[in-house]
Subunit: 359 residues, 4 copies
């Protein structure tokens, strides 16, 4: 498989460019018999779509999903589920100013060199607009997980220098969604919004961190030794545009710890083996232990800023480049549903693999 | 493929348990015509093997590799390269004290539950001894990379609270190997050794961080959108025992940065497009840009400590468990060659994929 | 990957049901830089579409392909090429008579039992209408092969008891297409048409054989030991609806031969090693030898016949079933472009793999 | 994955050359908890090994299998099962006469050209000796299938011009094994032996056909649309050395049939849906229907004959080549266990996939 498919048994194959006809994908391996809630899929897309709030890019597209196959009388048939989201804005823009420019810290130079051709319209497929396919794939995966009582909650814990500490408590979905930055703490949320507005005012952008927690996880997900649960999650997260780091459990903090501080004692809770603490992040030996999985993903500041920057054009001439138009000064809030979606696909894939490897 | 294979075109399939007959693997997809340096493979294994220094586990095995196939008259034939390393100590030990104990923060509980059976001898395949196969696979991969002028250098930058800053300079291999903790700064190295000896004295263990730099990287490695170079590296690193986090370029630090601080300006260097700074970590849009790749991997403290800990046995009874025998109080120094090996396999795989996708 | 993807490096993922919204697919791994001839793709679809001639099913759909991604300014970008063909007739029919009937020798019973749900509209995805995706994938693959001078020619050599012997000469495309059964010999073609009309008159159907020849093949395609060229071709051919057998070179006839009769002597032709005869069918040791590849595919008679047949309904009651409507009494002529398409995808995949496995 | 792995969830990765150190493989994805009968594995190897009878090659090797991993206290652990069979004869021979000769209808020319290097010792990995790994993989798979009541029986139905018709009755294993050509009919067996002795006397070789029947198959195995059961079987069979054709059910005979003759009426047998006849070969719509699977595989005559043949050497000079030593004049009897082994691996893989794709 080339690089546009993700997953072994529950596989998403994505397609589409930012300003082409459509973006979409094909989900193969979705078990038959799932009563598919298409509105729930659309709701996830709405969480990701541009133009949701005053801090997001004003590109306002409905991002309406159309399901083309794999569902009959509302129920999945076991056949591939294909879907498309038409691009509405694709012909409206003039790209002549970036056509031959390698925008700093964008994919323009690397993709042009790799493929020998460049779809310069809005970054082509290197645009985060391809995340739409992931969100749809993840929305289907979430519906499967729900039948197992597994739920995924992601939220913003850092924007720039503003950090929120969740104290190990999983916030309510409603609280998260009330915040336009998806930080459930209203005070910190306000600070984060302020920072985003400030950097926008300064024609700049800012990074952040998303935390994700999975609850209701059964024991046994993960396929050692290479497809450990955390390895697949890391793969999934680092495949998201602008992601720069992944850590689970104590993460980088574990480096400074002693074993006696880090180990999770086993105890029996309600007749079931569990751990007293959960520094392991719900995964031991690459396999889930029944405790919550939790991890953090770092995102860099958006590369597109409305400031003059040094660059080079495709003929190798030094140039000065200033981005036009208005862009998201911070991708983090809209990355939250993408983190959830990728997590959901990893877990469904592992669930299906776990079923397979039984006598 | 089940979980014991890694890579699409250059594929390592590993096998073996800590105290079974042997550990080993099969490399499929190694191009024909490589004059294979078996001594160089053995040298990499020697870097990983136990009993190298006063701070490592005294399990002293030669870890001698035997190549079974795929090489004729010293040259690779394009056929699978199988290799085995016999376990010498496999019958020497009494495991009755851990047979029915779920050791805290080990794989005992999760694997037992997942597979319904447990090879309790030294952790079975959950032991880091399976890394031997990775090191051999990586050693072959490094020889391929060398023909392209690509080299990989990993080293320890943190043990417990002792942190060394490389100031962005890649240390010499000799400097790294002179240090028994693989930190090229002799002063910091001494501090790290002191910490390890201290925690051992306290029947405890300690974590750390490995940094890895790849030099001589061509433009174009990485397969968007899911198999971005960093996504495969993250997958590879988080598949290593005890790894808890991965970050590349500015990593988690990028979250607090502004776009104007983080972006790398394009410049022309010696007639070739490059970047003035390298905060991107050598990868843009998921594809290498010709600058050095660099990333960091966090490792937790070793779970095995010679202290009494609360746990549960396989019948669900609360017990107190104290590990016997002597173990590495810190895996980080021996993880360095494993990080390099996994990196090498990722890059060879991407190199081969890059060749494939041409008209 | 689940079962709706084909190929390792040049991968087609198909989707869609006979009477759903659309059928289509995503091609991932198509190299960048191919000037894509969309009319040529449409022309291939036209060869497969229903209602082409008096002997084919009168379902008359335009089967117009729409490309959604992966092509910019007419050239492939290296990104996934998604395409859809809308179903026009999907709401026009009444399926109440087959809804709960297991039609003999159809997929109704096996798919219902496997998936627990049945899209009974025209057989759902078990319909040969999914071949549309294969034809598009193959049409793109053919354009890649053309740049290497590789061409594929398939034709009908048997319908029922009428057998045509090509005497080892590859017929001209025009000759093949002049025949509505795709047999280039006009006399035999007439006989084949007569048989088809006869069986239709008798409310019956008939099988046949397609032969395929590949010319201009380079030495070296095939990935031993499991992905031998002939193994991938066999996989591809037996994945086509109604295919019952595959043989290459002397095929089943080789069973009765002596080695001295079957072996192909090596000779030097125009300074290049070749074989004096080509009983091997262009493949030796699983790898192409530069001679023409040729093979034959057997197709069973269409299962849908307008005669009363014994069957069982989904409640397990014995019933009598008579198919309504008019159907192709013979799939063979329309299978010809599908055989070519699958062949093209196998060869492109092997071509790309061959490029990859070089130092 | 490169070409030396077979299967998605139950994966065999084979390695080894005819005259290298060893042949062997790694089975990944074998479910945990199987009480592995190693003697049964050895018994299958004994069926394939050379020197079994007066008609087989006198190369007499014990072909003793050693299991290196994945089994603990006699039970599979879910971890990869690695195994090796040491080559005993590997240093005993002089290959100077074939070193630079392209033997007619062997892999010498194609592999040399593809890989740029040739392990000329007994054909290297192109030798049928690699089938050892398949037989071991298949022997493990058979033990899994046995727990489901699925059994596989293959036998010889043709050697040269001698054809045996089984009249649709599955012969007893004992009857098959009593025949040194593995044809259960003693009269036809004698005729087949006579033909083999005759061609050997004439320094020639002869081809044949193996039929395989699978009994006790559940409904539901096969992954449409590309991984239909018959497509995977065809792939498996055509990956065997010397195989030239595959057909299932009525096979090529179906081409001449009418639908009314070919269709299998559904009936209820003992409360279960079945078919009155089984012309479909146990597979409909690519998925097993609970009836016996049956198929036939054609094998060409062995290429190695002790006669002078025209050929070319690696410098492109026309030469005359005569094979020395003694070789099997017919591979068919020893191919029987290989056909069974490949069938077993396909079915286990599909069984595991069937488990996976459930909610």
């Amino acid at each position: 498989m080339a690089g546009n498919s993700f997953g072994k048994l529950f596989t998403l194959t994505g397609f589409g460019e930012s300003h082409g006809e459509a973006v979409g994908g094909v989900i193969d391996g979705c078990p038959a018999g799932l009563l598919l809630d298409v509105q729930a899929i659309q709701a996830e897309l709405n969480r990701r779509r541009p133009g949701q709030s005053k801090i997001a890019t004003p590109r306002n597209e409905a991002d309406k999903v159309e399901i083309l196959s794999g569902v009959f009388e509302g129920v999945t048939t076991g056949m591939p589920i294909a879907f498309v989201v038409r691009n509405e804005n694709q012909k409206s823009k003039d790209y002549s100013n970036i056509k031959s420019t390698y925008r700093p810290s964008h994919a323009d130079y690397t993709w042009s060199t790799k493929y020998g051709i460049r779809d310069y319209r809005g970054g082509g497929r290197s645009s985060a607009r391809e995340h739409i396919a992931r969100v749809v794939g993840g929305a289907v995966a979430k519906q499967i997980l729900a039948t197992y009582g597994i739920s995924i909650t992601a939220y913003t814990t850092q924007i720039g220098s503003v950090v929120w500490n969740d104290n190990g408590l999983v916030p309510l979905f409603e609280k998260i969604e009330q915040s336009i930055v998806r930080c459930p703490d209203s005070e910190k949320s306000d600070e984060m919004v302020a920072i985003i507005e400030q950097v926008r005012g300064e024609c700049d952008s800012v990074g952040g961190v998303v935390k994700c927690v999975v609850q209701g996880v059964p024991v046994g997900l993960g396929e050692p030794v290479f497809d450990r649960c955390q390895a697949l999650l890391a793969h999934a997260m680092l495949s998201i545009n602008a992601a720069k780091g992944f850590e689970y459990g104590m993460g980088f903090g574990a480096a400074a710890m002693r074993g006696s501080e880090h180990n999770d004692a086993f105890v029996v809770k309600d007749g079931i083996v569990g751990t007293e603490t959960n520094r392991s992040g719900g995964i031991q030996g690459g396999v889930t232990n029944g405790e919550d999985i939790y991890f953090r993903v770092a995102f860099k500041p958006v590369a597109t800023i409305a400031r003059e920057q040094k660059s080079v054009d495709s003929d190798g001439n030094a140039i000065l480049f200033t981005a036009h138009g208005r862009h998201d000064p911070c991708v983090v809030p809209r990355a939250v549903p993408v983190v959830e979606a990728m997590t959901a696909m990893v877990l469904v894939d592992l669930l299906l693999q776990t079923k397979a490897n039984k006598l």
